[in-house]
């Protein structure tokens, strides 16, 4: 009964989404007020139906209804309640329901948020969102219905691989999807502007908080996924340039570009057609990502059971959504006129560079992700590119971006004269270079050329981000939340750059030969070798070592690196022992028996690795802080009654 109810609700939701799309898009075009009046009730109705459907699926999981194929395949009665609920989005069909549910939530939020906006515009935004929702509902019902029954039902469901029972995995998809789906709102705002054929600075201000919110969720979602992979899979890496990772990273890069481009459009009425294109592309890339993950055309470690039928459907959907948006763009964008010009060293230029570099970075990631597909389409066989391609090409566009950031923050809108603003910036640069080099050469030994550059850049970004807020505080001017948020996000970026550089450059490694009871030092940690004992596994035998790790005399960890010989393959493999200690990752691998009672051991320390994820959360927090700025809450650009002080700060906020 409950699964049928869920399916029924899903069908109703699809019909309501169709109404929402039709009246939202056609109503304003024909200027029919009564048609437009249908849109908001359709949004509410659709939300109730989608929520009901989602609720039914959750209830089927909670009640262990193994007559539902999706439940039986993804859960079992021994699974704790928490993981039964998380299992809802554990696989393809259910994750689509989650996607649709989150889209319905964003749509309701957009319906509330656009109440103050012109009626036709609001109707168009909701109409575009309805179209997206309709497409996904149709897709789910046609190819991936999670409510299908089994006959006969299973007495119990599939017992899951324990590696998938993890809070990180339970939390990562909803957060990531919230970000993905949130970009649909920016897309809808762009669609509405193009349908209207009008785009002004108010439009940019309305769109900004939505974009920033989606971006913040996306940042958290990507960080959660990376963190989960790092500590669960224990491969010692936090980013693998896997197609699925790239599928979430490309929209993030586009959204980052969009946030900055929107700032220019709002402040100065420039970059209009560019901003529009970015808004379309950011969401388009999340749709393309969905396609790549679920159609089975790319092989990935994250693979859902993929199917070309589903692929064909999504491709058709991509053509309709992205194709019509880009066609609309080709038609409307030439009509948009920039409202002013700017000088070469004005802030606009720096933001333009920011956009070019971010889009370039995104394009290189896209090219790398698509490489296997393109080469096989051209009949060149399967080619796949990995970190040796991604790392240097990505760095190539990121380094200038980071170098220009500090200057860009200090640059003025419109006017190019930087000289009176350069002093604190130069001071910050000198301080950053001194601190960076001191840290790099003082605390660590060795390292690569990029290390002092990276650390100094990171510190420079942090220091120069602080100049403006500190300056305002000294002059007793309120710092608006938008500026505080921007500062926080840039500080997060600085921390990210520092920690990434540190991890990449100062992963300290040492090969030592130790007898029982002997100790070795590395990076302030002491490793005491407690000897070797034979181990017996189910399909291997070998030896296991015990190493006690201490720091300044206090215990850190007891670690057990192993060396296994698998009976069948007769291969000897090393099972390293990996531990997280505060912000540092410690790895010990057992090497050769040197014969005289000593064993060779490889010790490895990765400092600051935790800060990589922390930095992403700081950036997201900055975004959220910026959204809470009151400027986004009024429909018009300048409310008539503001105090002179706030008026000043507003015009400066960035």
């Amino acid at each position: 009964m409950i699964p049928e109810l869920g399916q029924f609700a899903l069908i109703l939701a699809m019909l309501l989404a169709a109404l929402q799309a039709f009246f939202g898009i056609v109503g304003p075009a024909l200027k029919r007020d009564r048609w437009m009046a249908v849109v908001t009730p359709a949004v509410s109705g659709q939300f109730v139906m989608v929520a009901t459907s989602m609720g039914c699926l959750v209830a089927s999981f909670v009640a262990n209804d193994f007559s539902v194929a999706y439940v039986a395949e993804n859960s079992n009665s021994a699974l704790p309640l928490f993981y039964r609920v998380a299992a809802v989005w554990g696989s393809h069909s259910g994750s689509l329901i989650l996607w649709i549910f989150l889209l319905a939530c964003w749509t309701v939020a957009a319906a509330i948020g656009t109440q103050r906006l012109p009626r036709a515009f609001a109707a168009r935004v909701l109409g575009v969102l309805g179209l997206i929702s309709f497409g996904f509902l149709l897709y789910t019902l046609a190819t991936s219905n999670p409510f299908l029954r089994l006959d006969p039902p299973w007495p119990d469901g599939e017992s899951l691989n324990p590696i998938l029972q993890d809070p990180g995995l339970a939390g990562h998809p909803p957060v990531l999807y919230t970000g993905y789906v949130g970009l649909a709102v920016a897309f809808a705002f762009a669609g509405a502007a193009m349908l209207e054929g009008r785009l002004d600075r108010d439009w940019a201000r309305w769109t900004r908080p939505w974009t920033t919110a989606a971006w913040a969720f996306l940042s958290c979602g990507i960080a959660l996924g990376s963190w989960w992979a790092y500590y669960t899979l224990g491969w010692g890496g936090f980013w693998f340039w896997d197609p699925v990772e790239n599928a979430s990273f490309m929209p993030w890069l586009m959204a980052t570009a969009l946030i900055h481009s929107l700032a220019v459009t709002e402040k100065r009425g420039l970059f209009k057609s560019w901003t529009l294109l970015l808004a379309v592309l950011a969401f388009s890339l999340s749709l393309v990502g969905t396609f790549l993950v679920r159609s089975g055309v790319l092989v990935s470690v994250h693979s859902f059971a993929a199917s070309p039928t589903r692929g064909t459907f999504i491709l058709a959907f991509l053509i309709v959504m992205i194709g019509s948006a880009l066609a609309l763009y080709a038609w409307r964008a030439p009509l948009l006129k920039s409202e002013a010009g700017f000088e070469l060293t004005a802030r606009e230029s720096f933001l333009l560079f920011n956009n070019i570099l971010l889009v370039t970075a995104c394009a290189t990631v896209f090219a790398g992700t698509m490489a296997p597909l393109i080469s096989s389409a051209l009949g060149l066989g399967k080619l796949s590119v990995g970190p040796p391609y991604f790392n240097p090409t990505f760095l190539l566009s990121m380094l200038p971006l980071l170098a220009l950031l500090s200057v860009g923050i200090r640059a003025r809108w419109k006017r190019g004269n930087l000289s009176d603003r350069a002093r604190p910036l130069v001071l910050a640069l000198i301080a950053a270079a001194v601190i960076g080099c001191a840290v790099v050469f003082g605390l660590f030994t060795g390292g690569r050329v990029l290390a002092p550059v990276g650390v100094s850049l990171g510190i420079w970004i942090i220091l120069s981000s602080l100049i403006d807020p500190i300056d305002r505080l000294r002059r007793h001017i309120t710092v608006p939340r938008a500026v505080l948020g921007m500062t926080l996000a840039h500080i997060g970026l600085g921390i990210f750059v520092i920690s990434l550089t540190t991890v990449e450059a100062f992963t300290a490694e040492r090969d030592v030969a130790l007898a029982q009871g002997q100790t070795a030092q590395l990076g302030g940690y002491e490793f005491r070798f407690e000897g070797i004992k034979p181990i017996e596994g189910p399909n291997y035998s070998g030896v296991g070592g015990t190493v006690i790790v201490t720091r300044h005399g206090s215990p850190v960890a007891v670690m057990f690196p192993e060396k296994r010989e698998y009976w069948v393959q007769h291969t000897v493999t090393t099972a390293s022992s990996i531990r997280m200690y505060r912000t540092t990752n410690i790895l010990i691998a057992l090497g050769q028996d040197l014969g005289d009672g000593r064993w060779s051991l490889r010790l490895q320390i990765r400092p600051l690795v935790t800060f990589i994820w922390l930095a992403a959360f700081i950036m997201a927090a900055g975004g959220m802080l910026a959204i809470s700025d009151r400027r986004y809450r009024s429909a018009r650009a300048e409310a008539p009654a503001v105090s002179p002080v706030t008026a000043v700060t507003r015009s400066e906020a960035g």
Partner: protein, 183 residues
């Protein structure tokens, strides 16, 4: 062509590439396992019934067999059990079990009470063998041919229907009970 049309043109090119990608991907409706059409993982594991003995993939070469992942903790495996016994009775194909993350005493007691459909049972105590097979949950069953290639994978309990419609048609005509029994 205006510069504003460029994104649309690039997108059209992308659509072409994606469409070719779909066309070239395997034409099965579902790809349940990347192992299909590939050699089954090599293994040599202790036997459940006789810990001194080993069950290895080399012994199984040259015969069709069904590789069935199960555990006494898995309810669906218990449900599947009667079907497995029927398969054994038919003598068409031997069943090789992988007792996954199980207690040896429980497993032996279960087989004593319910009957043992398996030709041999390998023990995967820490679950590493199941990872090699890409096992997501239990029960899962792999059909392996004499060359050691995985021909088919079924997720969930095997039913009469699966047996007749999915597994039997994949076996060669010459697969007689006698040929199977000799393994």
């Amino acid at each position: 062509m205006s510069r504003f049309t460029l994104p649309l043109v690039l997108f059209a090119l992308l659509v072409v590439v994606l469409a070719i990608g779909i066309k070239q991907s395997p034409d099965k409706d579902l790809i349940p396992s990347p192992l299909i059409g590939k050699p089954a993982p090599e293994f040599s594991l202790p036997s459940l019934t006789d810990p001194g003995q080993r069950v290895s993939s080399t012994q199984l070469r040259g015969h069709w067999y069904l590789f069935n992942v199960w555990g006494t903790w898995c309810g669906s495996c218990r449900m599947e059990h009667s079907m497995l016994l029927k398969i054994k009775q038919s003598g068409v194909i031997p069943l090789v079990g992988l007792d996954w993350k199980d207690d040896r005493g429980d497993a032996l007691a279960f087989l004593k009470d319910e009957g043992d459909p398996y030709e041999s049972i390998a023990v995967d105590q820490d679950g590493s063998e199941a990872i090699m097979w890409g096992v997501y949950g239990a029960p899962e069953t792999f059909l392996v041919n004499p060359q050691g290639i995985v021909v088919y994978k079924f997720i969930g309990p095997i039913t009469e229907q699966t047996w007749e419609q999915q597994i039997l048609p994949r076996l060669p005509m010459g697969q007689t009970p006698a040929a199977a029994a000799s393994s």
